[in-house]
Symmetry: C2
Subunit: 144 residues, 2 copies
């Protein structure tokens, strides 16, 4: 697939989450920079380095088809002319579940190349709430 | 404290882990860029944005004094002339514990400013092993 052309890191990020929602491997492939240096950490997973390892993880993740909806909230951003890292909270809804999962925190890096901005980093991790279902249930009980 | 001058991101990173080991708040403060855009995520914690929130977290973390030893292994790195993100595995030894904890994965960002390289991002998260003490104990039993 021809690499995508994204005018801004924001545009690349929007395309990334759309590809994730659609489990669109070809699109996801076009969003990542195809260099050796790219880094991807799925929640609680190992550090994947290089485009081959990163794409293999997406192929595996997308094997089951689409099923997630993302609401993405920008928390903070650092950047230079050539590289931007956006740290976001991902509120994820899973098909068949009535309430969203606790947020995942992700730092997404984008690099400016000739064809526009491409993804070079995705480091995603759970928040404390993710590990405290009992505490959350208690809080809900107290509130209702 | 006068901001530190680090000639390279590697030098800033070495100073960062040394300050962490020594629970040296003034040194840690000198390593971070004192801008609004800095981002820090401690393992399973919330996203802290801005130097005030980030430094408050270090003050709290260091209140108990030193007690950790870090072995840091670079996994991957992305960078431009002005911004570098190094993703590392932190092997942490806690005082009084005979074996190291499961690794923490951290993406550490450094920005080039007039005084050298300063930290602008720390996103740390546990790996799967962190959540599987039972599995690890079983493996250890099998091996010995």
């Amino acid at each position: 697939m021809t690499p995508a052309h994204f005018a801004t890191p924001d545009a690349a990020e929007a395309a990334y989450y759309r590809a994730f929602e659609r489990a669109d491997y070809a699109r996801m492939q076009s969003i990542w920079w195809d260099g050796e240096g790219v880094v991807c950490v799925h929640p609680l997973g190992p550090v994947l380095v290089g485009i081959d390892a990163v794409l293999a993880s997406w192929r595996e993740l997308f094997a089951g088809g689409p099923g997630l909806r993302f609401e993405v909230r920008l928390q903070g951003s650092i950047g230079s002319d050539a590289l931007v890292v956006r740290t976001v909270a991902e509120i994820i809804r899973v098909s068949g579940e009535s309430t969203p999962r606790p947020p995942i925190i992700a730092s997404n890096g984008y690099r400016r190349v000739e064809s526009g901005w491409r993804m070079v980093l995705h480091h995603a991790s759970p928040t404390q709430e993710h590990l405290r279902p009992a505490a959350r249930a208690t809080a809900a009980t107290t509130l209702h």
